[in-house]
């Protein structure tokens, strides 16, 4: 093909891809249109790949074939067989793969092109790409390890950690600047990558499970930035656009998550909440709670007019979403109003609860965001909190000394009755005792949430026979 024509073809395919990507993401504004949108994005991806292969002179297909074959196989197997509960891990892992591709492309570019040809600005993009890419690779792998419970998920801290991390970070930036000054310094290039890898491990290591939604979103953002920088380094516009979309998406979600926890990025990255509960504040609890049985719970539910279910990470751990849906369905069949209230940081990633409930076949129009449902708690008979704690802890509203103070919570304490399904009386991730457990209106049903709910469902069924809607 004529070189000019090939170029026109390639650039057109990139333009088409960029437009289809934006339209695809736009379609995610509603579950009805979302699948069609993703189909458009897939077409865009195909167009860009075909355009690239036709435009650039490909001399060997062997490595491409191996890479595509192995990658697609792994990708397909992961997508088909990975259980929905493993979604946070899967997302963390994919950030690592994305960033890895960016780093490798950066290294190839540096090897193949003399620094003088690249020019200072492109060199800056290249350095940025490998630095951010490297820290995203190890950071995401750490997050994956913690979510998969290969590594202890509790925060790991050591003395002077923040000083050490900040020092390392500035050393890396300094080296990066030196690399821009002298792009022929190969050692600087590779040391920046090495330091980036170390920073990724060190920054995520002290972060605990409940802060994962912020961390995953931030890593999402970094992987996107690395991809966008790759686009700058290799002059590929569609890569810049796609990376930029990914980067802003991650940034947007991180902002949302931090706001939902009333914490800044810096606080999440350097705070390590839950690492050590402040000494001296630990008062031995003398109040007692009345333990209720599944039977009591069934009775209360049956006699309610309106019920709101608040799921948390405990629901995911217990795999209780299916039986929960079964109960909800029974109650709905009895003309009881049932809704789900989802706190943005419930679970381990943005939208975690929504995916699990969708998997259990819950209609998405029953799922409500905090702002949409918070005022309704006061007129609700029964709230069922399944494996959540910090996101409903009233201490966030009034106890200034609490690490939760200021966090926007679900006001479940305003409902007439609150049922807590919990494994133990332990405090939540933030280490803050929940005063609501001791409230008169609260019913604590301790034990595995799935077992409790199965027992409740069994009793409800026995009584009138569960209606399959």
């Amino acid at each position: 093909m004529n070189a000019d024509l090939a170029r026109i073809f390639a650039e057109t395919s990139y333009l088409v891809a960029a437009v289809l990507f934006v339209l695809g993401l736009k379609a995610l504004s509603h579950p009805e249109t979302a699948r069609r949108g993703m189909f458009m994005a897939e077409i865009g991806m195909l167009a860009a790949v075909v355009g690239t292969l036709l435009y650039f002179e490909i001399v060997t297909w062997t490595w491409i074939a191996i890479g595509v074959l192995v990658g697609s196989t792994i990708g397909t197997l992961m997508a088909v067989f990975m259980p929905m509960t493993a979604m946070p891990q899967r997302i963390a892992l994919s950030h690592a793969f994305g960033a890895l591709a960016a780093v490798l492309v950066g290294i190839y570019k540096y090897i193949e092109y003399p620094a003088a040809d690249l020019g200072r600005l492109r060199i800056s993009a290249l350095g940025f790409e490998v630095m951010f890419g490297a820290l995203t690779v190890t950071g995401s792998l750490m997050a994956f390890g913690k979510l998969q419970e290969l590594i202890k998920s509790a925060p790991v801290t050591f003395r002077g950690q923040n000083f050490f991390n900040i020092g390392l970070f500035f050393a890396t930036i300094a080296l990066y600047l030196y690399f821009i000054y002298d792009p022929t310094a190969t050692w600087a290039f590779y040391t920046v990558i090495g330091l980036g890898l170390c920073i990724g491990v060190l920054v995520v290591m002290p972060i605990g499970g409940a802060d994962m939604p912020v961390v995953i979103s931030l890593l999402n953002s970094y992987a996107g930035l690395a991809a966008a920088a790759t686009g700058l380094a290799i002059d590929n516009k569609v890569l810049i656009i796609a990376g930029s979309l990914d980067g802003t998406s991650g940034f947007f979600l991180s902002m949302l998550m931090s706001r939902a926890m009333n914490r800044s990025f810096a606080n999440v990255l350097f705070g390590a909440v839950g690492a050590a509960p402040p000494a001296g504040t630990k008062v031995v609890e003398t109040r007692t709670v009345t333990r209720y049985t599944p039977e009591d719970m069934k009775f209360v539910l049956e006699n309610a007019q309106s019920v709101i279910i608040v799921p948390g990470y405990g629901m995911a751990v217990a795999q209780a979403q299916h039986v929960l849906h079964e109960i909800a369905n029974y109650l709905i069949a009895q003309d009881i109003k049932v809704r789900y209230a989802i706190h943005p940081v419930a679970g381990r990633m943005p939208g975690h609860m929504n995916v699990l409930l969708a998997e259990a076949n819950v209609s998405y129009d029953l799922l409500f965001e905090r702002d949409a449902i918070n005022d309704d708690f006061a007129e609700t008979d029964v709230v069922v909190v399944v494996g959540a704690n910090d996101v409903v802890n009233p201490a966030a509203r009034h106890k200034k000394s609490s690490p939760l103070f200021g966090m926007p919570i679900l006001d479940v304490d305003k409902a007439r009755t609150v049922i807590f399904l919990k494994r133990s009386m332990g405090a939540g991730f933030a280490g803050e005792e929940n005063e609501l457990f001791y409230d008169k209106k609260t019913m604590m049903v301790l034990g595995d949430a799935k077992q409790t709910l199965t027992a409740v469902a069994g009793m409800l069924k026995k009584r009138t026979g569960l209606v399959h809607a």
């Binding site: 650039f56 088909v80 492309v105 709905i332 943005p350 076949n361």
Partner: protein
């Protein structure tokens, strides 16, 4: 004191490549504007779809596949081909796996009469 330093820096930038500013600024414009566009579009994504959104943007940023393909198959050294092969592999995992898993999730999001049937 600063003037010669600035001059030296400017000179070295010039020596490195005289045309980069003209080449790279259009790209920077694209980067920044795409960022704004992304922020507007993503701000309208339904919060219930935030997990599929992450999977989808991951798949889309697997477009670094196009750079990887060139590295793996272009006129380059064996080292680049191998680096490229691994990059192609990582990017394809994200593209293929990402789109498949996004679709698998999106298929589950349905509106059902009376709260949805028990599965």
């Amino acid at each position: 004191m600063t003037a010669p330093l600035l001059l030296a820096t400017a000179e070295s930038v010039h020596r490195l490549s005289p045309l980069t500013a003209a080449e790279i600024f259009p790209l920077l414009f694209i980067l920044v504007l795409a960022g704004f566009l992304g922020y507007e579009v993503i701000g309208r994504v339904s919060p219930t779809l935030h997990t599929p959104l992450m999977a989808a943007t991951n798949a889309i940023s697997g477009i670094s596949l196009v750079g990887s393909l060139v590295a793996a198959g272009g006129h380059y050294s064996q080292t680049s081909h191998i680096l490229g092969m691994f990059a192609v592999c990582a990017a394809s995992i994200n593209v293929v796996g990402g789109f498949l898993i996004t679709d698998r999730m999106l298929r589950m999001f349905k509106r059902k009469p009376r709260g949805g049937a028990v599965s």
